[in-house]
Amino acid sequence: MTTPNTLRRILALDAPTLAVDFFLFALKAMLVFIGSWAVIGTVALHVAGEGLTAAAWSDVVVGGLAQGFMYGLIALGYSMVYGVLGFINFAHGEVFMTGSMTGFFVADALAGLWETAFPLAFGIVILSSVAASTAVAVIIERIAYRPLRGAPRLIPLITSIGMSFFVQYAVRGLVGDSFRTYPVLPEGLRDRVSFLGLEIEGIRLLVIVVALASMAGLWMFVNRSRTGRAIRAVSEDKEIASLMGIDVNRVVVTTFAVGGAMAGIAGVLWAMLFRNVYFLTGFLPGIKAFTAAVLGGIGNLLGAMLGGVTLGLIEASGPTLIGGLRWELPISMGIAVSALSLFGVVWGLRIVRNATPGRLGGGLGYVFFGAIGVVLGLVVLPGTTVTIPGASQLKDMIAFLVLIGVLMIRPIGLLGERLAVEERV
């Protein structure tokens, strides 16, 4: 029910702002709608006995977790550097790749030991990979970022892009562009083991365990140790930290070193799971990990882990869920959608009547899309089938859409920013 007063307020509102709010609401509503339809559809498929088997779901979850924990490990590096220096270190994916590549050469040289005493060989490979990654991260900081301390953030960003290209193609020039394949894993890791009711491949379990252990270690380091405190202090305020007697340069180097070490661990795990590595191995995982860091709340260590795992799970399960769209909505479901939408309309009208101008657009959005929802639920949806052939092709798209949706609803990521960053545009 709109009173003339409400109408006048709507008309008096700044048109662009209104339109933008309205559009944003539409976008959010659409994403949420598709998401819930996908979930409801998948559940219903399951109830109807047409869904995936339990074993398949277990594959999806474990696959997503393993991938996600590695994203999380890499994301830690992005997050820490962002927390301390406030810029995106694009070259971090390449730090990860150099670790993985070094790990290959060591593993290759230790091929005999790899068969006979796997834990020892694994330890050596991890250590050398961590050493290489840490060294590369620190050298990059020394050459490319330290001279730019205090520069506007776009400048180190461009430097890091340059560094990323340089490291990629330097590695290509040094070791060539062929795929380097890690030695075959020992029997035990290739078999499936039963763990918490899930049938997990040994290697994925190893990946998850090692990743969790490293993250726990890092968390302890940052939150319990002296150096960790210094890192947090610097990320709060560099000037004050240095007045308090903290050597900012050392803290920055430590941050890069720790981020590099995490990337090194991720590099070996990655190569053990996916087996091969070449000079471009770091590029996409780097971007995904950066996405994960933002998704979880950049600068926030727990957020990086959570973001990584979320991203991994979405990538693994998203196409399957979208596949749930195939399911035909029965009448009852249509009525349920309509009822929800009607509630939206009422809610929206309330907002429109009472709200400040800033929320008017959202309120109108509720009304408008609620009405559309009622129509959809009653008229269109029952019996509608949407099939998306080749849904797995869209897995990155789904992941990015979720990212956009999350950031629209919660602009500081899932867990929010922890390490403070001064507002600079």
């Binding site: 205090g150 340089f166 020039g173 950049i298 080749g390 545009v425």
Partner: protein, 643 residues
């Protein structure tokens, strides 16, 4: 006054040694060997090594001049230091040669071929070869140091000669084709051997051709420059304008005479320039870091392809090119809104990641099998030659004429009013934009006067180049006028501080969306031209790397500076090439991104404001109000001290 010591020489030498070893190890030296620059002395492979001791030998006794102290006069000391540097470089290289001779490193380092040691000693063999390397190192280092003894003018002349020879040697195809197109086939066949290398006598001839006119015309050039510098600002602007107009006119005529290869390169450069200009509005003016800019390029390409091509999978209106342009603009503007709206309330790096996400989503949508019926999926869409109906051309010319007149009147009126009141005018900008758009429409309309349907084929680089040039000119003009318009000033306020801008009464939402939409439309022009030029579009032409390279063009050229963006595109795309576009230096293909990386890092460390920074930014630098600009100024001061 600081003086270099032998310690510096050793340090620089060690650095040089590492560089030389690195270049040899990544296989650059050997793989470039086939490419002779000057026949028979110098191949690109040796050139990639030899510059190191010479440059560092020069650098080691580089003088930092401090105010109030006189620099030490150059002397034998410079030569000695240079020689030490060269020796250190050579010793490290010798150590490396011995190392690769003793151990087979090829298991890990694939480019350390069995022939590398032989190559590095220029085939002399081991014991003698080391002496040879040492000798060359010392000589080049000393020569580098000795450059300080040469007075400034001959030195710069000599440098210019070397540069010209290298440039002509490296872009021999382009140079040859231009010469032939100009009817100078004789010169072409004199300058180049049959296999397109430069014989030594041609190198000498090029040197003479550079030196002689330079010596003869020395005084005049200086006089012209001096006169230009003493002109009043308005006069200088007028000259600048005339020069730009001349450049555009020249650009319209040149392709007819200078052959397809130049057109091809320039058309590609122009496409990137268009995108660079668009991104410059988003990043340079409004300060919105967009990492997914390629999405708009893709939208432009696909919408143009679907609207004009008969081979589009689902919807084939088969419009003529200029009839499709309004729709392309509309679709691109919508795309700009769709991407721009969700990010309005995001700042900094959230903006970066969300735009990057949109860039990937665009590619994935065009690639999806799901939408294959609409966009062709992995197979892409074949694009027909652009059809231009010239009836439309006359209509365009008529509309353009009217717009020109109205625009000029409006511009004149608003300007004179503003003069009287003595304040800044913003309405005159709008008038000028209308006038120039009108002029452009008139020109396009009149340029194609026949009644028959005229087609611009992608393979006809001359037509494509003119197309691109027209659109680049429009984009440049729009950017130029927008820069000092009200919207432009709103953008810049936004860039400096969003909160303050909002407090000052700027509508942040509108300003941001305008930036996104303008940027999107310019990129979509690029996309549409790209589709026509290439004749076949696929999703894989629109990857993240493309977005990154466009950003790099803007930053390297100079954020917010039109000339900078143009120069950035010319240098990076024209010379080195884009991610999937070969540049003029096609031999560097395998190492292109490596060189890109080094250039970017060096650039950001030494000249972060870009090649040709914006005048407005330079003005702002003096206010020292903003952290960003203050820092850049500090850097610039450091540079000035160094020079």
């Amino acid at each position: 006054m600081t003086t270099a010591t032998w310690r510096d020489a050793v340090r620089w030498g060690a650095l040089g040694g590492l560089i030389v070893v690195f270049i040899a190890t990544i296989g650059m030296a050997e793989s470039f060997d086939a490419r002779k620059v000057i026949d028979p002395f110098l191949s690109l492979g040796y050139l990639s090594l030899l510059w190191v001791p010479m440059a560092l030998g020069y650098r080691v006794s580089h003088r930092v001049v401090l105010e109030g102290t006189a620099p030490t006069p150059p002397g034998a000391r410079d030569i000695a230091l240079g020689a030490i540097t060269g020796t250190v470089v050579a010793v490290i290289l010798c150590g490396y040669i011995l190392l690769i001779d003793a151990y087979n490193l090829r298991e890990v380092l694939v480019n350390v071929t069995p022939t590398l040691g032989h190559y590095l000693t220029k085939g002399v063999g081991l014991p003698g070869g080391l002496a040879f390397v040492l000798g060359v190192g010392v000589a080049l280092g000393a020569a580098g140091g000795a450059l300080h003894l040469v007075p400034g003018r001959p030195r710069s002349l000599g440098l210019r000669v070397v540069l010209w020879i290298l440039v002509i040697g490296l872009v021999e195809l382009l140079f040859g084709s231009i010469l032939r197109e100009m009817g100078l086939k004789r010169i072409d066949s004199f300058l180049f051997n049959l296999d397109r290398t430069i014989p030594w006598y041609s190198a000498v001839a090029i040197g003479l051709a550079v030196v002689v006119p330079s010596v003869l015309l020395r005084g005049r050039a200086q006089a012209v420059r001096a006169r230009f510098n003493t002109m009043p600002a308005s006069g200088r602007r007028r000259v600048g304008f005339a020069l730009a107009a001349a450049a555009v006119a020249f650009g319209m005529i040149v392709p007819v005479n200078f052959g397809p290869l130049l057109n091809e390169v320039l058309a590609t450069v122009g496409l990137f320039m268009l995108m660079g200009l668009g991104l410059n509005i988003v990043v340079g003016y409004a300060g919105l870091l967009d990492l997914g800019y390629v999405a708009f390029f893709a939208v432009g390409a696909y919408s143009a392809a679907i609207l004009t091509s008969s081979a589009a999978p689902m919807f084939t209106p088969e419009l003529a090119f200029f009839a499709a342009v309004p729709f392309v603009i509309l679709i691109a503007a919508l795309a700009g809104l769709v991407v721009g709206t969700p990010v309005i309330r995001m700042r900094g790096d959230y903006l970066a990641i969300v735009t990057l996400a949109f860039g990937e989503i665009a590619r994935l949508v065009f690639q999806a099998d799901w939408l294959k019926e609409a966009f062709g999926g992995a197979q892409g869409i074949r694009v027909d030659p652009a059809r231009i109906r010239t009836m439309f051309g006359y209509v365009l010319a008529g509309v353009g004429l009217i717009a020109l007149i109205i625009g000029l009147l409006r511009w004149w009126a608003a300007r004179s009013l503003a003069r009287e009141r003595g304040d800044l005018d913003s309405r005159s900008a709008a008038g000028a934009v209308v006038a120039v758009l009108g002029a452009a429409a008139l020109a396009i309309g009149l340029a194609f006067p026949s009644f028959a349907t005229w087609t611009a084929r992608g393979i006809d680089t001359e037509q494509i180049f003119r197309f691109v040039l027209v659109f680049v000119a429009i984009a440049a003009f729009v950017s130029w006028r927008l820069e000092s318009s009200r919207v432009g000033r709103a953008w810049m306020a936004l860039r400096e501080d969003e909160h303050v801008a909002e407090a000052m009464g700027i509508n942040v939402v509108t300003a941001k969306l305008t930036a996104f939409v303008t940027g999107a439309v310019l990129a979509a022009f690029g996309g549409a031209l790209f589709a026509i030029k290439i004749g076949t579009i696929y999703p894989s032409s629109f990857r993240i790397v493309q977005s990154i390279i466009i950003l790099v063009i803007v930053i390297v050229g100079g954020m917010g500076s039109l000339r900078g963006v143009a120069l950035g595109a010319l240098v990076l795309i024209g010379v080195l090439g884009g991610p999937t576009q070969p540049g003029l230096l096609r031999e560097f293909e395998g190492y292109k991104l490596l060189i890109y990386g080094v250039l970017l890092i060096a650039m950001m460390l030494k000249r972060p404001e870009g090649l040709l920074p914006a005048a407005r930014r330079t003005r702002e630098l003096h206010q020292e109000e903003f952290l960003q600009d203050a820092w850049i100024k500090a850097k610039a001061d450091e540079m000035a001290e160094g020079a």
